[in-house]
Amino acid sequence: MEAIQTASAYIFSLQGLLLVVLGTVLGITMGAIPGLTGAMLIALTLPLTFNMDPINAFILLISMYVGAISGGLISATLLRMPGTPASIMTTLDGYPMANSGRPDRALGLGITASFVGGCISWVFLISLSGPIAYYSTKLGPFDFFSLVLLALVLIASIGGKSMSRAFLSASLGVLASLPGIDQATGNLRMTFGFEELNDGLKLLPVLIGMFAISQVISDLTRLKEKITVIPLERTRKMLFSLRDWGIQAVNLLRSSVIGTWVGILPGIGANIGSISAYSVAKSFADSEEAKKFGKGSEVAIVASESANNATIGGALIPLISLGIPGSVVDAILLGGLLIHGLQPGPLLFQQNPDIVYAIMGTMFVSNVFMFLLMLLAVRYIARLALLPRNLLLPVILVFCIIGSFALSTRMFDVWTMILFGLIGFGFEKMKIPLAPFIIGFILAPVAEENLQMGLMASNGSFLPMIRSPISLIFVIMSMVLLTIPLYKRFRHGPASD
């Protein structure tokens, strides 16, 4: 109770509210500018929060998260470019509707759906994470190891089109996490004589490289492409009418629940959430409505936008209750917890309840601000989406460099960042997904530490992995997830991708 009071005192102070507004506005803006993503914004803001109070830092970061997922809808609708990957599905129906002269309607549907999706997933967040954290303190090292295995299998088998590419990406991530000190013995490994590698590759430079630098490189290659924007003249008919609520209620609820559950799955973020909700909504729609999908369907916009915002609350659940990131942005937030000296994992709830409640509270407050800001200021934000990118991109590069440097004031991290920027760009060209890499990179040390701890406690025996009932369940689930796609391919031949 005390922690809830502390957290709300922080959020509802003048400074707290200013941070929420600042974070939400920056998030929406970055989300709306094509080529700049929320992951990038949050990774770049993280170094700035080093000297902030951790609670304030997380108020800012969570507001950015909420803003960024929502802002993508503006450019999806008006520019026919998803501002963030989360809004890909919105582009399919938002743009045609805007093009046919109803941009305000398209935006209005998206904004309200985003708000409702956020609220529904928030309810799941506050009701589920406490109990999960409580039960997970009972998990032993082998249980945790199996859970991480399951998480890696999940992201590889569900996340993308090609399972082999996703697995390659994940195992490269694991590989990148190995150099440095062996947690169990304290010995150095794979440093190739570089003293700077004694500490391994740091999360922040790797993240900034993979998500910001590679994105900037790819933006630069398309710098000369023309962007056309649909003018937004009136913003009157933005709110839902009573009739809208009646038509969309079931859709809203269903899409938000789908978004939340996809969010909970480790490493799979907002884009998969909205794709799933979109296709489910299509299969539930009557034939007349289904025909409109892709040509400006209201149901489709609502499904996509409520689901992608719902993944926020869902993805935060494993982050704060288990220390396992539910999406790429959560992976960055996990790094943020570590940088602020907080230990993610089941004990976060007991040791730093104020942070946990601040995260939960901010998600709600920021969601409300997002709704109001988008309704009132969408016209001005839409204009920001057209900032001159040839000036914006070098400025972002400077930010990336400072961000990596500030981590431990050494240039080595900056070179790491540039290297991983190139790797990320190469991944994109070869259609290898980035998310499994990051999740592998983050979860490998957790898996290794727990496995070593388990083996040291069991004197080298692997048996407890299948003797503990919880661990056994995770192992069986991973096996099933692995075999289903293989079995399908065996029967139907190789999938064409």
């Binding site: 500490d199 398309r222 040291m456």
Partner: protein
Amino acid sequence: MVRNAIIWILIALSAYQYFKAGSNLGNEYPRKPIRVVVPFQPGGGSDTFVRIVQKTINDNKLMPQPLVVVNKPGGGTSIGSGYVKNARPDGYTVLCLHEALMVAKSAGQSPNGPDDFEPAAATGEFGIVLLVSEDSSYQSLEKLMHAAKEQPGTIKFGTNLNTPAHFAAIMLEKTVPGAAFRFVATGGGAHRLAGVMGGHLDVIILSVGEYLRFHQHGLKAIAYLGRERLEAIPDIPTGEELGFPVYGGNLHYWWFPKGTDAAMVNYFAEILGMVMQTDYLVERTRELQILPRIILGQELADRIQDRMKAYGRIEPDNRLELPDFERWTLIFVLVLSAALLIKYGFYRKPVLQKFEGEGLRYDLAFGTLAMTVAYVLLMGMNLLSFVWATITYIVIVGLFLRQFKIRKCRSVVEAALLMSFGLHFVFTQLFSIDLP
């Protein structure tokens, strides 16, 4: 017009700040801020202690220049200690690190040991306690040691390997011939706590400060490894009282790089002596259960030698073969890459698929990247400071991306000036982050 005026006012203000900060240099040591390197994350025990010292010095103006804390965590502690070892011995860089420096050296984990530094002082003693869970069957140190002797290698002892705590545990084993624990590497204090609460570990070591923070979670302290009972935990017997004389007490040592002028080292030690006597420090350290002690001069040199000898006698052995993570990961990567290559060789599909959209401007992307590399090189080799490098970089890249249309250069110059001076101000003054 208003927009332009605002931009130029901002530029002027931050440029003024930049030049003002550069001009106030005096003559006597210290002429500029002294940087304390803490080889741990912000927020941990060492970091908290150093920040209390920092606040004491800066608030009471004990030195003409402020103390600045720089965190260089990682690599055990070898990243931070290596940085200070290689720093210029000009008296403006100092390392604050407890006996982990000696343990890491004698366990062969870090090339940096006490011999690479000039110790100034050891301050702030903190102790460690042995903890079991409340329903554990080892409710006293005697019972624990008895069990460790009767069934050697079965009691699961959670500690990070090759740390002062691990070495203290090995010393404990040696007090009873034939006793042996099964050491389990655990990572941070929170993991250890979860382990003992969930019944996966039998006994753990925490610092007294950590114990006081967490003791309501069903933990029982069975011994305090210090010379005398501690005021804050009067009921907990010392190991010596119980017949197991092991002392795990540790201090924060202040190390200057080898070759630093002795006058500077002594000056800093004197300042630390004053710090230890301020009311603020005494009060804050009492909260954290750190004794505001200070060891100087010959006593310090003796203590360092004594501890190095004690740690040198211990040979930590890794008692269990663990699976080779590196090898398995490498095999996995190779198999998957081979699979992908075979797949595309077999179906004759290009691995590099043609990208959607024509006319991608790789020249712009890689040109900018090359300039970025040059920019980082210039700063990395200390040829240009952040401000001037950034101005040059943004002007050149901005013009390059606009295909050198001079007509549009005004906004480029504005952005360059605003970014360089402005960011310098924001980062160094507001967020106190060092820039190259």
